[in-house]
Amino acid sequence: MSVDGGGTPVLRRVLQALRDSAAALAFAVCLVLLWHAVVAARLVSPVFLPAPARVFDELCVQIRDASLLEPLAATTWRMALGWALASAVGIALGGLVGASRSARTYLSPMLEFMRPLPASAIIPVAVLFLGLSDRMSIAVIAFGSIWPVLLATVQGFASTEAQLIELASALCMRPAAVLRKIVLPGAVPDIMAGMRVSLAIALILAVVTEMQASQIGLGQNILLAQRSYRSAELYAGILVLGVLGFVLNQGLALVEARLLRWRAAPG
């Protein structure tokens, strides 16, 4: 960031940003107040919509007695493991397919067929093979979230700038060096985009498989809360899942910004 504009415009921009944040916060507070008013006026049954204060209390209790910790850790762990597996296998496989034209011709149609298949549809197959186990969850998460990163890697490898390949041969680079110095870095933007989509799918599948297999986790928590009509717990669980999704996405965005800083706007 430059400060060439002197003090006044910067100050004005800071003030503007402060005012915007305040307005956005005020709006969010208004929403919560409206929510409270709706509950207080008994417009909606508290079974469906608990008061915001009750949800907040529930959350505080869960944090204080650490009962949030175990399901949060379990969900995050399964998701992270499945996603990491999917990314590693997806990049390796995608690289193999993307680097060879004939592999693309023979395999791409099959891969394209697999992509739109709803990932959750393989849950019953995984249950058949692995039972209602942790391994089943991780297999489903990995299998379901592999497609975006795999296809993005194929795309990234296949669209290597032709002139850079020519440059590599003019420099007499070995194939391994071409892969490491030219093809792989060039595919990173595509791979990162694929991994982001995969991450969202991994979280969804982690929640769904927990519900299916009755495993300890945030997904099972909210399902149990719903079954016993503990609505405050249900809302608190949804909130935690939202925060988890947000934190994971922001974390990956940070990594991406660091890896792709060469793509940032010219300075």
Binding site: A24, R115, P124, Q226, L241, F246
Partner: protein
Amino acid sequence: MSQRVVILERLASGWRGLVVPCVILLVWEALACTGQLPPDTLPAPSRIGAAGFGALLDGSILLATGQTLLAALGGLVLAALLGVLGGVALALSPRVARVVGPSVEAMRPVPAVALMPLALLVFGFGLSMEVAVVAFACVWPVLVMTTAAVRGIEPRLLDVARVLEMGAGARLVRIIVPAALARIGVGLRLSMGIALVVAVTVEIAIDPRGLGFQLMTAQQSLRPDLMYAWLAWIGIIGWGLNRLLARVGTAGDAS
């Protein structure tokens, strides 16, 4: 002449794409027939085909497909309405975007499946809860693309509207939506792909109807052949929908 060459080439490459799946199926069939594979986890492809044919004959495929597609479509329509209106509002008024935007953004990372229990609580089992969850999942691409599209409209077009003293409604219908339509279409296409996935997921996890439920039931009633048949059918529906969207997309881009 060159067009014919292109078609021939595509036929040739399409044929190559079928080699690997066909080989897999043949090997699978051969292994299953010779008893090398456990029939309760990997039944022969021929038995899967027969089970699928049976489901087609007794009408359960048609019924389940209709239920799932209806839920997906309903959610999509709802998402399109909300997404386009919300996106236009966010794009046209920077103030609205600054004030409301963060609250909307805060809801976005909530995985749609986390709302399944809530939707179940509010609507009970059935079409409406499925539509609600699908709509929540599908609204984001439409909203994001609409906002980007409307923000990207040539400012002079809006000046024209002002010069012609159009009202807000006329401006929306005659200038904004047509000018942003192509990119809104991109968002809709993305959402359509999501809609089917979410609908099937809701059915697998909670809602006892549609393709996902049939798939689950087949597994639980120890009919692996039927389960694989449903899985293949869901794959075909997803693939077909994807192809249809791609075709619509290219037609839209060409016009």
